[in-house]
């Protein structure tokens, strides 16, 4: 057992191979996060979506002894549930219950994870939901998430990260219940399990839980290394064509920085400065939305952050060995689409050329040093971040980040900007109506004049004279228009 920073966070490798992250306390609530270090990167090449379907069958199905209805009926009065999150290298099962109901809730949780029901009718329902999540949820109803996932798919082509976590429609259609059972047997092992638990449970409870999960196979097949994605040889654009009001963009490229790398804190600071998620403090937000009214918001990321349109803060347990730098431009009106893209790249270029000032550096560092406490204010988040720290082999996240930030200098940050922030060799994903029209616009060097509904300060109008002709540097042959029905099909 080793102490990793916080008085109450204990990480241990117990007698078996199961790792635990525990936050015991006096709370009347008990929070669980059970993480298997496997996910969609382990999908067989011809079965994208298998990890996702397997997790959904567990979290949204019956057990060997209880039907789905019996499980949901039993959880209902407790106001408890169980959810699954599948990412490339982590599959997380989360839930919480009041101590009054701990024994009964745990029985259901254990039943689902250790003795899943594998019923055909559950499988049919879960599979339909997974297919509709792509056809309707992603392709039909959420242009912004669609653009982000197309960006990831494009950048990671040919690697185990190269497909959407939820799979593809054609693959989901052919996956069988036997495939799911096989995946479960090969991937849900003690060696891949991290048990996270917080709140008012007893030491005896935890001991018996570890004993129960000792029923899983001892070890899964060794995890394959995740290769680096191909270098983006030249900038290219993927336009998803669908009937929609406006134009959503995501821009990105692979980076060699994760939480485990020395430049993590510096690059996190840069992305926060450029576009802290859903906050008005970022440069992109200020220049695109606040000064010019182009859209609802504009942000930057160095870690995978799905469902950003519904979340104010990142979800933990999406830890990855490979990450990308990403800029999210929320939907813009079609007449301003080319200008908005130019402006976003112009701002990246400005950052690359100028770096941060001492004041900007210190302010952003101060923000992150304190905001990390806000991020981890719930037991659920505290547990999640502790599990991620175990994955990355770093100390407790809050202490780690604060220590790393404290060591930074402006020179470090500006070096990291030079090394990581660029406007060429990028992939741009756009979701729009009349994709061919946007393609023609973006492939041309023509100016994209901008008019406003109110007078703008000289600083903005002067800057606009540069932005309107900013070279996007993408030729027509590097712009691909894809009908939405093809995406993740």
């Amino acid at each position: 057992m080793r102490l990793i920073g916080s008085l109450f966070i204990l990480v241990s490798c117990a007698a078996a191979q199961i790792r635990t992250v525990t936050l015991p306390g006096k709370s009347p609530l008990v929070t669980f996060r059970l993480v298997f270090t496997t996910g969609s990167a382990a999908d067989p090449a011809d079965r994208p979506g298998l990890a996702y379907l397997t997790a959904q069958m567990i979290a949204d199905g019956g057990t060997k002894d209880l039907t789905y209805k019996q499980v949901t009926d039993a959880m209902f009065p407790m106001a408890s549930g169980m959810n699954a999150q599948v990412d490339k290298e982590m599959t997380t099962f989360g839930g919480a219950t009041h101590v009054d109901n701990l024994a009964e809730y745990y029985k259901l949780l254990k039943g689902r994870l250790l003795t899943p029901g594998w019923r055909e009718d559950d499988f049919r329902r879960v599979k339909d939901a997974a297919i509709n999540a792509i056809k309707v949820g992603l392709r039909g109803n959420n242009d912004e998430e669609l653009g982000k996932e197309v960006l990831y798919e494009t950048l990671y082509q040919g690697t185990p990260y190269g497909h959407f976590n939820g799979g593809t429609v054609s693959s989901l259609e052919k996956i069988t219940l036997d495939d799911v059972k096989t995946f479960y047997k090969s991937q849900y092992s003690q060696s891949q399990l991290i048990i996270g638990i917080a709140g008012g449970y007893s030491p005896e409870f935890l001991a018996s839980m570890k004993k129960d999960f000792g029923a899983l196979p001892a070890a899964a097949s060794p995890e394959a290394a995740i290769p680096a994605p191909a270098v983006v040889e030249k900038s290219r654009i993927v336009i998803v064509d669908k009937d929609t009001r406006s134009v959503a963009y995501s821009i990105g490229y692979p980076i060699d920085v994760t939480r485990a790398r020395p430049d993590y804190a510096a690059l996190l600071l840069v992305s926060s400065y450029l576009g802290q998620h859903r906050m008005s403090s970022g440069v992109l937000y200020n220049r695109l939305r606040e000064k010019r009214g182009l859209n609802y918001g504009d942000y930057a990321y160095i870690e995978y952050f799905p469902r950003g349109m519904f979340l104010m803060e990142p979800q933990p347990n999406l830890a990855r060995h490979r990450q990308i730098f990403q800029v999210w431009i929320r939907p813009v009106e079609p007449p301003t689409a080319k200008f908005a893209l130019r402006l976003a790249l112009f701002e990246l270029d400005k950052l690359n050329k100028n770096g941060l000032t001492q004041e900007e550096f210190e302010r952003t560092r101060e923000f992150l040093s304190k905001y990390v406490n806000v991020l981890t204010r719930t037991k659920r988040a505290e547990l999640g971040y502790a599990i991620d720290s175990l994955f990355y082999g770093i100390p407790q996240y809050n202490d780690y980040l604060k220590t790393q930030l404290a060591k930074l200098t402006l020179a470090d940050v500006n070096r990291v900007i030079k090394e990581n922030i660029r406007t060429d060799h990028v992939v741009i994903a756009a979701v729009t109506r009349n994709g061919e029209d946007l393609k023609r616009q973006l492939a041309s060097d023509d100016a994209s004049p901008m008019t406003y509904n109110s007078p703008k300060p000289k600083e903005i109008t002067e800057e606009d004279t540069l932005v309107v002709k900013w070279p996007l540097g993408v030729k027509a042959e590097d712009i691909k228009v894809r009908p939405v029905a093809e995406v993740f099909q």
Binding site: G140, G293, N453
Partner: protein, 444 residues
């Protein structure tokens, strides 16, 4: 002071016994300043963090003049446009240095501004918030730019068919009341917002007043110290005099329907809505309608089991009882897998409504709903931010955390007959509106 975590434990032990404890388990102070501003302080044991939620009892309900829908929401944006003392840049940079999470949201009945931060920054946060609530100052060009950000928000929402359904449902079901429009407002009004600078100043002058506003502070704080800060920064704020005349919705006299043709592939959706009463904890009606929504349409209901789990004709069904300042809609929403099953699913919903009107539910089932409601609250109150967030909803209705206790007291005394009665009284054909939405031929 009693340690709050123990109070919560106490609640857990007694919640389902003979004498249920209050569902809001924290000790709190509630005080009114002479100008009408209300302050609610809830000290908790969650260390270091403070959540400040400022609730303005103004939402899209208050948009009484034609052509000006969406203004409450626009104001949520304009409030970040600065004052003489704090430009938007200075405001953002100050919050940034605090490591604060800050945002705002608007709905039918309220606008809420919230900031979560470390306790040492409370004085600065209250000072900055007081400054913008009293001295907001924006010029016409900034106003015009911000109105475009609202259009941007409409644009990003417009990718979801549920946003369109909501618009059409409210427009169809209501004739006079301001619930006829959604909080975003009618698109034509949003597009005209840049021309309404003068009106915006009037809107601010009317509603951003102490008598409409409640400050909720939850976290690692002491009530007396918070009161002193609020007196210092908010004491000079002048009371207003405007009281809106919200049009009364005439009784609906027959069923209504509408249909939305969605341009891109989607699953068909049906929403069945009924006119239902305003939030009221003086009677059991609001509590009974809440229980009805859960009993008849939640994941353990017979209908859900039939349509979603067994027949698998729908992939979701949910019921939602209103909890609004004025009478609103009890809505049942189902997403159907095949367009040819749309009528079938709608008929099963109507049959379910009829069954609940005729036969009282089992007491045991009602008990499970009661139990769930209390555990739901206990499970959600696991940090200061969420506690403040939950309170803000109840405070928007009646300006006190006791609203929550009163409602849960009503749940505790509900009988199966109470649930049957509200179903028979409100879920009636003449107050019903059904809106359907289909894509081009349903999902391909």
């Amino acid at each position: 002071m009693i340690p709050k975590i123990c109070l919560l434990l106490g609640c857990a032990a007694l919640a389902f016994g003979a004498q249920p404890q209050k569902v809001f388990p924290y000790e709190y102070s509630q005080e009114d300043l002479p100008n009408g501003l209300r302050l609610i302080v809830v000290p908790t044991d969650y260390a270091n963090i403070v959540a400040n939620y400022i609730v303005v009892q103004t939402g899209s309900r208050n948009e009484v003049e034609p052509g000006h829908t969406g203004f409450a929401h626009l104001f949520e944006h304009l409030m970040f446009r600065g004052t003489e003392k704090y430009s938007p840049e200075k405001y953002n940079q100050t919050l940034n240095r605090m490591g604060a999470a800050s945002n705002a949201s608007t709905s039918d009945d309220l606008t809420v501004y919230h900031t979560t931060f470390s306790k040492e920054d409370l004085d600065t946060v209250l000072a900055m918030e007081a400054d913008r609530f009293q001295h907001l100052k924006y010029a016409e060009p900034e106003f015009k730019t911000e109105s475009l950000a609202v259009l941007g928000e409409y644009n990003k929402n417009s990718a979801s068919p549920f946003s369109k359904l909501d618009e059409v449902m409210h427009d169809t079901a209501f004739d006079k009341h301001t619930y006829k429009h959604t909080t975003m407002g009618f698109l034509k009004d949003i597009q005209d917002m840049p021309n309404q600078y003068a009106y915006s100043l009037k809107f601010f002058d009317r509603y951003y007043r102490p008598e409409y506003t409640t400050i909720i502070v939850v976290g690692d704080v002491k009530a007396k110290a918070v009161r002193a800060m609020v007196d210092k920064y908010w004491g000079e704020w002048k009371r207003g005099s405007y009281r809106p005349e919200i049009p009364v919705e005439p009784a609906q006299n027959g069923p209504r329907t509408a249909h939305v043709d969605w341009p891109s592939p989607t699953l068909p959706i049906v929403v069945v809505a009924y006119k239902a009463p305003a939030y009221n904890d003086a009677t059991k009606e609001t509590a009974a309608l809440d229980a009805l929504a859960t009993l008849a349409f939640s994941s353990t209901s017979d209908l859900y089991q039939k349509l979603v789990v067994q027949e698998q004709k729908a992939d979701s069904i949910s019921g939602n009882a209103p909890g609004s300042v004025d009478p609103s809609l009890f809505e049942i929403t189902a997403r159907v897998k095949k367009v040819e099953d749309l009528d079938y699913v709608r008929e099963r919903i109507l049959e379910t409504v009829k069954a609940f009107q005729e036969k009282p539910v089992d007491t045991a089932r009602l008990d499970t709903v009661r139990k769930r409601l209390r555990y739901q609250v206990a499970l959600s109150m696991d940090n200061s931010d969420t506690i403040a967030q939950i309170l803000s909803y109840y405070v928007a209705l009646k300006r006190t955390p006791e609203t929550m206790n009163a409602l849960y007291d009503r749940y505790a005394t509900l009988t199966p007959e109470d649930v049957r009665e509200v179903a028979a009284k409100y879920l009636v054909e003449k107050g019903r509106t059904i809106v359907t939405l289909t894509g081009p031929g349903g999902a391909k």
